[in-house]
Symmetry: C2
Subunit: 764 residues, 2 copies
């Protein structure tokens, strides 16, 4: 238990008692001064009433918050806190900490109460945080990362996960998510891939829409349970994969690729906020990009919620004005000084005032919509009732099982317990929890979540399992552990190696071993440090070997690596990921994860997303050059990789019939019969792709337009139908959406690979 340095801070809640003393402002009649407190009125009416009574400084204050200046596990710096709070006091945004939720609430509640009391109109902070798989409070359910859940390809299961995340966040006092991230992971060198759902617009958009719908679902009182922020508009094709790198893209590429999940989520789920990217797009920083934020986002995509900044690195008044007039209404400042407080001196500029009023109104609407004024400080006693509820843990176990992707298996898997007397578990990741830099967990703290070593010992019994690390994660030249690992493999007769790329928070003990996460780009998609050398040595020994990949990224699997008898990707871990790996390796669970991002064949053979344009696979004229038709000639590689988006193996086999197509006015139905032709029960992700034959601009070779995960017993078969609205089969030319009649091809199958698909053509 942490000792709070500010028990003296605990201030009596004086909110309701002092409220009636508020002085009317801006000529508002006195009987109207309390309308914003009337919970029966709409958020818009309440927000306008409150706004009308606010002076300039509190308005500007709402556009920022006390962000990253309070960490419950660190000494509180009151001077810093007050210096920020003086001009940025709309929200409180806790940084991830490795303590408990209780510790955090005990720290944040007094600060929230103090803020209410010191604000003339008693406007509470709204608590905001990123939350894709856990929350900043600590000790909640630790789900696996976004990319991991994207690998489950199971939206109904994901809904249960988000319900759990929502309820744990709400009870902790977080009413506003700076999530979901719906950027497309098309640039595999970028360090934020693991924060995303994957490379496909329909796939990521489906997860994003579900997140927003579930989070923003209204409670019995009509309050939005938790507000959401879709982000980052637009991000993910950054130059060289560099984290803050520029994006060269033109409008058609933006609209059809980068913005496509935003289009889907805005249309289907109406998120209350959106975060602008910190990139520059076609040389114009998004924070100052009126074309993107006003013309496209507000105009073409019809978004009318709040636009907030991502970390703004500019700190001059010009930048604040540019961002404000481009449409930014809330600043997330990673460091001080922030930008928006420079607006304080511009109270006489009517254009600035108008923009500030519009922004603050949207912020206040979110505060009213979420019921913040009625419940500004969470009740500590509710924490224990909601955190880590059995339903949350069950959803977590299930999504962990369904997200592991079996990439290769020569028949070694599943292991039979009776045949397996000893296991050598090797590799630095077998003793860690690699949960990503947004997860609230210390990678080396063994009190929370099992490591692979633990899970294996739990299953096989401690004496049967020998762990040898083999090498450090990254920064090392010391190969002395490798022979020890090889000997352990030989002694056991079976090796399970867990290798990967680490992503942690800045304060993690292993943070300097990281090769993935925000602020990072990996020019090399191989294994860091001596890990490949360790793997090669184990494989050279001839011992049967199971390779488990760890990390929120894709890896190049070279020819040596592909010698492994079995390869699984486990992505960013949650607390049950290691258990799930053991369940899959031993056949207790039949793997059903599918790749949410493609596995490239070379760090220079990028990009390789499945929905490439036909010309992107065109080297030239094979008849003349003597080369086969391929994208790259040295080495000779196709754009369609052997392990693409949607690919993943099972312990059973599925047969998918030739699809049927039928069409009504508004939609097209694709149906197929799926049969489990193997000996064990299993789940398959049935995927539907399409392409229109003739289009006004170049369009991808195929695009995902539906998927469903189904469970089948051995021999069982089932018809699966996809009803696809015709309006979804469109594309943007500049800012116009074309969903036209003509020849279409639809494919159904078990991955995006040509050989895994069956097609039907039709005229719509």
């Amino acid at each position: 238990m942490m000792h709070s340095p500010w028990s003296a801070l605990f201030i009596t809640l004086v909110y309701f008692t002092t409220l009636s003393t508020a002085t009317p402002q801006n000529g508002i009649s006195s009987q109207n001064t309390t309308r914003y407190l009337d919970a029966s009125l709409s958020p818009a009416v309440r927000a306008q009433n409150l706004l009308d009574q606010m002076t300039w400084e509190p308005k500007v204050g709402q556009m920022g918050g006390v962000r990253r200046v309070v960490n419950p596990t660190k000494t509180f710096n009151r001077t810093l806190y007050e210096s920020v709070r003086a001009t940025q006091n709309g929200n409180i945004a806790p940084a991830a900490n490795y303590g408990t939720a209780l510790q955090a609430v005990e720290v944040f509640n007094p600060l929230k109460e103090e803020q209410i009391n010191s604000s003339r109109l008693h406007i509470p902070y709204i608590q905001m945080t990123d939350s894709m798989n856990t929350f900043a409070g600590g000790s909640g359910t630790l789900f696996p990362g976004a990319i991991t859940m994207g690998a489950a390809w199971n939206i109904p299961l994901y809904e249960k996960v988000v319900t759990a995340l929502r309820d744990e966040n709400r009870v902790f006092g977080t009413y506003w998510m700076m999530s979901p991230e719906i950027d497309l992971a098309r640039e595999l060198r970028g360090g934020r891939v693991g924060e995303m759902f994957g490379e496909g617009a329909y796939h990521a958009g489906s997860f994003g829409a579900q997140y927003v719908k579930t989070m923003q679902e209204k409670d019995e009182r009509g309050y939005v349970r938790v507000a959401t922020t879709i982000k980052h508009f637009v991000y993910g094709s950054n130059n060289g994969g560099v984290n803050m790198g520029s994006i060269d893209s033109g409008l058609n590429h933006i609209m059809n690729d980068l913005a496509a999940p935003f289009h889907k989520v805005i249309k289907e789920a109406k998120p209350l906020a959106i975060m602008a990217s910190y990139s520059s797009v076609d040389r114009v920083p998004v924070h100052a990009n009126e074309c993107l934020l006003q013309d496209i986002l507000r105009g073409t995509l019809g978004f009318d919620g709040l636009i907030m900044s991502d970390a703004m690195v500019e700190s001059i008044q010009d930048a604040a004005v540019m961002a404000l007039t481009a449409g930014i209404g809330l600043e997330l400042s990673p460091t001080q000084p922030a930008t928006f407080p420079t607006l304080l001196t511009l109270t006489n500029d009517p254009r600035i005032v108008k923009h500030v009023d519009a922004a603050v109104k949207k912020i206040l609407e979110i505060k009213f919509a979420t019921g913040l004024f009625e419940e500004p400080v969470p009740s500590i006693e509710n924490l224990g009732k909601v955190l880590r509820k059995p339903a949350h843990l069950e959803a977590n176990r299930n999504i962990s099982r369904e997200s592991i992707v079996l990439l290769q298996n020569d028949g070694l898997l599943p292991l039979r317990k009776t045949n397996t007397t000893k296991v050598a578990v090797l590799g630095p990741f077998a003793a860690l929890i690699n949960a990503g830099n947004y997860a609230n967990v210390n990678s080396t703290d063994h009190t929370f979540g099992n490591r692979l070593t633990t899970s294996l010992k739990n299953y096989f019994g401690s004496p049967s399992v020998q762990f040898v690390r083999g090498c450090a994660i990254n920064n090392t030249d010391d190969a002395s552990e490798i022979p020890v690992a090889v000997q352990a493999a030989k002694d056991a007769g079976l090796a399970i190696l867990m290798l990967g790329s680490l992503s942690t928070g800045n304060e993690d003990p292993l943070s300097l071993e990281r090769t993935d996460g925000e602020f990072i780009a990996h020019a090399d998609l191989g294994f860091p440090g001596l890990q490949q050398q360790l793997l090669d040595a184990v494989l050279d020994s001839g011992v049967p070997t199971i390779l488990v990949l760890s990390g929120g990224q894709s890896f190049v699997l070279n020819n040596s690596t592909l010698r492994a008898n079995a390869i699984l990707h486990s992505w960013f871990a949650g607390e049950y990921t290691s258990d799930a790996i053991v369940e899959i390796v031993t056949g207790i669970v039949n793997p059903s994860g599918k790749l949410p991002i493609s596995i490239p064949q070379h760090s220079g053979a990028l990009p390789v997303y499945y929905d490439f344009l036909p010309s992107d696979n065109a080297g030239g004229f094979p008849g003349q050059s003597g080369f086969p038709a391929s994208a790259w000639q040295f080495p000779i590689l196709q754009r369609e990789v052997p392990m693409p988006f949607g690919f993943g193996l099972s312990y059973t086999t599925f047969d998918i019939s030739e699809p049927d197509v039928s069409s009504t006015n508004g939609s097209t139905t694709i149906s197929t019969v799926v049969r489990n032709t193997g000996n064990v029960a299993g789940q398959e992700v049935v995927q539907v792709y399409y392409r229109k034959a003739i289009t006004r601009i170049e369009t991808p070779n195929k695009q995902l337009v539906g998927f469903e995960k189904i469970h089948l017993a051995p021999g069982e078969s089932r018809e699966v139908k996809f009803s696809i609205p015709k309006d979804e089969l469109g594309y943007w030319v500049n800012t116009k959406w074309y969903a036209e009649g003509g020849n279409y091809t639809f494919w159904v199958g078990t991955s995006s690979r040509s050989q895994d698909l069956k097609n039907v053509t039709t005229i719509l």
Copy 2:
């Protein structure tokens, strides 16, 4: 001597005798039917007169040609030729062949004469070809490739080269170049990098403008000596480096980067034609891209010459109409059927007729401007007077010497002849001429141009030089030669290894060993095949080693490679490149080449062009992450590479003083004093870069805006002045050019590296 299969083809020249029988067409009065033959009239008037007399089929015929169907070293396929000529008869475009110019002229002249006679209005073919460093006839002067000459950074010397190329082409009968290629080599994985001058817009634009000015210089009769075609509008940032890959770029990226050399060359040199790229840009194929071809090229950049296609892969009438209406006036069809002959049935469509008339008029203007009607067939006897003139060979020797870039030297170079008794020359490229796929030379034919083995034997004497290939170029697993090579190195006590990446024509005996050239992309920028293994083995032996790179591309030099005592890049070879390597290695010539493209550090750490945007080097917040500020964190790499654009070593040292800046109304003068502070004479390329502090959009960290190569004796110093028009210091925001006042920084120095530059700031 080849035996022509068609001596019976030689038809009496009946051009002038039959001419007066031409029948008036389109109501033109009979006295006007011969105006187009009046050389005293302008090309525009003559073209209009001829056009007025033409029927539909010959008009459409002018928009194509007999391309790639005549190769003087192959059997003539009369059926194929006639089938193409029936509808495509404006030009004859010889493919490169490995015969002699005389052979080629003897084949082409009769075909030209036949065409004149069979054309009712006696319209000659115009002969077109690519020509960056040689011509399609064979046996002319073989200059090194475009990237090689770009590495010389010497525009006055390049003028002499282009004069030679021009005069050799003209005497061979080629009046129209499908050159220069002024695309920027910013995507180092692309196979066409060696066809380009380099990665920098000002640098490539300077070479391109000189090419056009010299080629199109009028002769004493007022004829354009040779027409030019700048290409490819726009190309070079193709997705994944794939040859025909799409370009995602938005307008600001296109205008400020890809189109920047086109802007410069159009403004300064008025090329008569431009070739559209075969890429799609922001999903719209350039051949059908009215925005790029009409709004930007014609409107914003003011180009009013002919727009021709690059290889068009579409073959339907729709594509022809789209291309025509987008602005394409001449088709280069790589294969049959071509697209434009489908226009033949559209004679009643007034919009099509109008576009065809406009296109044909521009083609005819070029035919009249170049004096084709007065000299339609070259005189064979002039060939010998012009080809390989001493001035041409001298220019060739000089540019070969000046283009080799010394990348690393621990003091081993220059070798002293007296100390060098034996040399082992190793590597497959030491016995080849690697001239690029557009050069008219057989890589293994030792009768034309020296190989490194020959040049070394010529200098050191045959007995002192032992050649061991060491390994094949690419497709091999046979490492048996490596120990032989190592032994030769040990025996000699000195190794010169020539390694690289091969680019040849399709018909070269080694064409299947290629890893570079058009239609190729290299995902890996290391050495193909077993070459790295050969190099490592030689370096492991400890024998002093000089590594010579060969190829029209950049290479990743890994830590093992960097152990070499000296490294030189020799690029695409001309006939004197090997001699020049020996002259430099032995100190007869002091190296003065500078990199026209940067040397990357990893195949995944791309792009690395010098003029990156500041955000492209921004990983994040180093203070928080614990990482140094860099673009990539695994491995940790900066965007500014150790061997960037403009970098190259010398045997002497130069001191460059702090620059002075002065300014008049129209231009800014930057001056600096350069001193040779070493012991030998040498040349240095003084480079000027700039950056404006505050701009409307994100602009590069620095941009080249001037360079000059100067020669200095030991101890000599000289002031160098650069006069920079203020209008050049601008940038595009969409289609508007901004060259505004404000704070500017100028740097002068010997490379684009920060440590090689001195700066001055000024307010303009």
